[in-house]
Subunit: 501 residues, 2 copies
């Protein structure tokens, strides 16, 4: 019945709107709330999360979802909505509110313990609550899909269709290739002097340069804004209100630039998805998966934003604004911002080694969920794997297994999407080059400073489609290919071999 579909779409808009309200409150918490106001904001977030849960699992949702027939649906967007609702409802049906509440409570408590443990550099403070949280998340995964491997279920939550069966060979091969590249290029970078990137850059100058980059990338300031926060993020507060944050805590030049190209990449996805009337205001306007979303941010942060062509245009502008860059050639600048080396902290890792940090986390999570790694052994396992995969041994738990907040937030199965983002982005780049007519054409576009041939391509091929197609279908539609690490490895090889001869 068409009526049943209309009803569900109306509900979807309501739930999406509750999500926007929640995002607004979260935004306030991260950018403006006074110290002691955080508690109330947190309580409001719980309240709204509960409302979203209740609305998403109302009995009428189930009956409407059952009543919809294929013939009722007029286009791929409508089919995608129904596909997602049915998946969500099936899952929700199996998970009792008690467990949802328990996980919410454990997340809050675990986050507090994680902060303390990281501060005191003592994993054992975090271990007991982490164990409880893992048990609860496993319980949830088994309720969602009793027949499936729980970690596969978690992977599928963040990246629909993803599984260990796909990731094991993919990440296995990727690790070998990245080791080969790292072994070749890290030694060539070891003696690079990058100190000029931390020469005390003016904060206001950095802010305005970042804004300039946002403008150049096509961020619509009538439909979004930006602010400062402790950690950069992108959030959607409405179809015409997509915001990013940045941080300027030290005086490093490239940290805020890397953040702004990254977050603007995310924001452009959502700003443009919302322009498609078929998905505007619905849950499809948030994009299809974490991995595809990440491919949009990494595409700009790295695949465009660290290229010679991009900086041929941007570097004179940067030199005009920052006197400290005087005497630093474009070549020196590019060598510095692309320097590769084994390092402790994922979020600071370079483009080449970053995915190795993810492969480590993937193996840890797999081990935790198949029972081969016990929670109390995480620190020693982490250090062992870090040595083996990243070729860096953490000196402390804080720069090792306590560095990320994801597990404290109950997010297991999330990390792989970061590496998938790299692989997807390389595939988009390959196709874009093909469609533009060659790599020289892409370089011409980038060095001209008018990026619209790139963003139009992204809009047509990815952004405008929002969450209509599942990741592998979208990938196939755009590139005619399946997920493959080859374009990423070739891209790295080409880039690093040119830079560090």
């Amino acid at each position: 019945m068409r009526e049943a579909f209309e009803k569900l779409r109306e509900k979807d808009r309501e739930i999406t709107r509750l999500g926007y309200a929640l995002a607004t409150i979260e935004w306030d918490l991260e950018t403006k709330a006074p110290e002691k106001g955080a508690e109330e904001r947190g309580a409001e977030l719980s309240m709204l999360s509960m409302m979203i849960h209740d609305a998403s699992t109302a009995e009428e949702m189930y009956s409407a979802a059952d009543a919809i027939e294929d013939a009722d649906l007029r286009n791929d967007a409508e089919r995608a909505l129904v596909r997602n609702w049915r998946k969500d409802l099936r899952e929700e049906k199996n998970v009792p509110s008690e467990l949802v509440g328990r996980i919410g409570y454990l997340q809050g408590a675990a986050h507090a313990k994680w902060v303390e443990a990281r501060k005191k550099n003592d994993f054992s403070l975090f271990a007991p609550i982490l164990k409880d949280l893992i048990d609860a998340v496993r319980e949830k995964a088994l309720l969602i899909a009793p027949e499936a491997d729980p970690y596969d279920t978690l992977l599928d939550e963040f990246e629909p269709g993803m599984s260990k069966a796909v990731l094991d060979p993919l990440f296995g091969d990727l690790e070998k290739e990245l080791h080969r590249l790292m072994d070749e290029y890290a030694p060539k970078c070891a003696h690079l002097d990058t100190s000029f990137l931390r020469r005390g850059y003016d904060r206001n100058g950095m802010e305005s340069f970042c804004r300039y980059i946002m403008e150049k990338m096509g961020f619509d300031f009538e439909r979004g804004t930006y602010a400062e926060s402790a950690h950069p993020f992108t959030t959607t507060l409405g179809p015409d209100d997509i915001r990013i944050t940045n941080r300027f805590t030290d005086e490093g030049l490239f940290d805020p630039i890397g953040s702004v190209t990254h977050e603007t990449g995310h924001a452009l996805y959502e700003q443009n998805a919302a322009l498609n009337p078929e998905i505007r205001g619905t849950s499809l306007s948030g994009g299809v998966s974490m991995g595809i979303h990440e491919s949009q941010s990494r595409f700009w942060e790295n695949f465009m934003g660290r290229t010679r062509a991009f900086w041929e245009f941007m570097y004179p502008e940067a030199q005009k604004r920052f006197p400290s860059l005087e005497g630093i050639s474009l070549d020196e600048f590019l060598l510095a911002v692309n320097k590769t080396e084994p390092s402790a902290i994922r979020v600071n890792a370079d483009e080449l080694t970053y995915s190795l940090h993810i492969i480590l986390r993937y193996r840890m999570e797999k081990g935790i969920f198949d029972g081969s790694i016990k929670v109390e052994d995480i620190p020693s396992e982490w250090n062992r794997m870090s040595e083996e995969i990243i070729r860096y041994t953490p000196k402390t738990d804080s720069e090792g297994c306590l560095q990320d907040s994801h597990w404290a937030g109950g997010m297991f199965g999330y990390f792989p999407t970061y590496a998938l983002g790299n692989l997807y982005a390389a595939m988009w780049r390959e196709q874009l080059i093909d469609d533009l007519g060659g790599e020289e054409k892409l370089d011409e576009v980038l060095s001209s400073g008018n990026f619209t041939p790139i963003t139009y391509w992204q809009k047509d091929n990815i952004w405008y489609k929002g969450g209509i197609y599942l990741p592998k279908d979208l990938l196939f539609k755009v590139t005619g290919k399946s997920l493959d690490m080859r374009p990423f490895v070739e891209y790295l090889e080409e880039k690093y071999s040119r830079l560090y001869k």
Copy 2:
């Protein structure tokens, strides 16, 4: 049953929390949302308002309210909660959702029309929707209290216990006294040169001076913050998150100072009410009435913030910060910031003439609701009354009957609370002086720059009590007197006779 009370208190907290979430979204709309993001924020506000309405009128609320017995209640705060719930429920029961929705719709549409009419200076564009809105508000008032005069019902909404029977003689006498004072002092002010107040003051300097005043007044920055917006306001986003805004649109010195003392007065009320555990997080922490709230803002804006003693402390600080004040004596400064004159715009009116602007609006509203003034005659009636009451004839509708947004927001019966705020504030001041041991003592406190003897008095007598006592009961508890215009008139007479000999 105690259980019924506990249940209602739980509901009250939930509804209060929804109100805080709504306030957060409104804050974002006013201070940060991008141009095109406003629509979604508006839709979220409607959604949350509807949720608050639904939660406030759920069937279980009625049954719980009925089940509570006096013996269940342990203190005045609990009795006040029950008193307010019963009043609200009685009202809500009589007003169908359809009418609530219709008024919401008309408010939105009327606001848009009012903006256009004011811009084009043409009341006739606003008249038809205003008429519909007045009819709907009258309909609501008659449903709430079928036996009562509708305008009395509206007055009681904003100021519990207030009625035409109280206001008619009060405002009648007040008008005469204010005319007498205006006739005496306006001519003495006519030739005062106040141009130094608009000498291009530095925006950052004004911001930091305003912050300094907030600190001196005792605003708790761990439990609140501030930002800029088109119109200054105070809002409560949580028991530990009370915020104000200010504006620095022109380079006038005293506009932002008057705003910051005013808004901080409001904020201190709510910051301190939330410290009382009996009312924290409940609807009582928002204060008792608009009039009492306004008495707290006006107390600081005018009764303290425009005195010689206050500026004996603040003026050297201001001169240090603003070189443009060099050569302007404290006397000259005080004469300028207290200048009185008949004028067009309520929000810019001085302390002496301000209440006359309210008396005009009170008479207009009374006439509109008793049918003696037709909507289409509002402009001519406004101008006639303005001439008679304020002694100023507006040159256009925009500086006359279109100047305020209240009617477009469906707020009839609200204006009188501004004048009541003046009368209450004068009574607080009289009692404070008594308790401190004389006017010289108050002056000593103010000129010392340590205002805590004043704010402690306010906290004990007013703030900490929040909404426990109805206005007239609170007034009697603190002063032992009933509402009276004498303290206000005496205060003005004394002040102006000293300033303008």
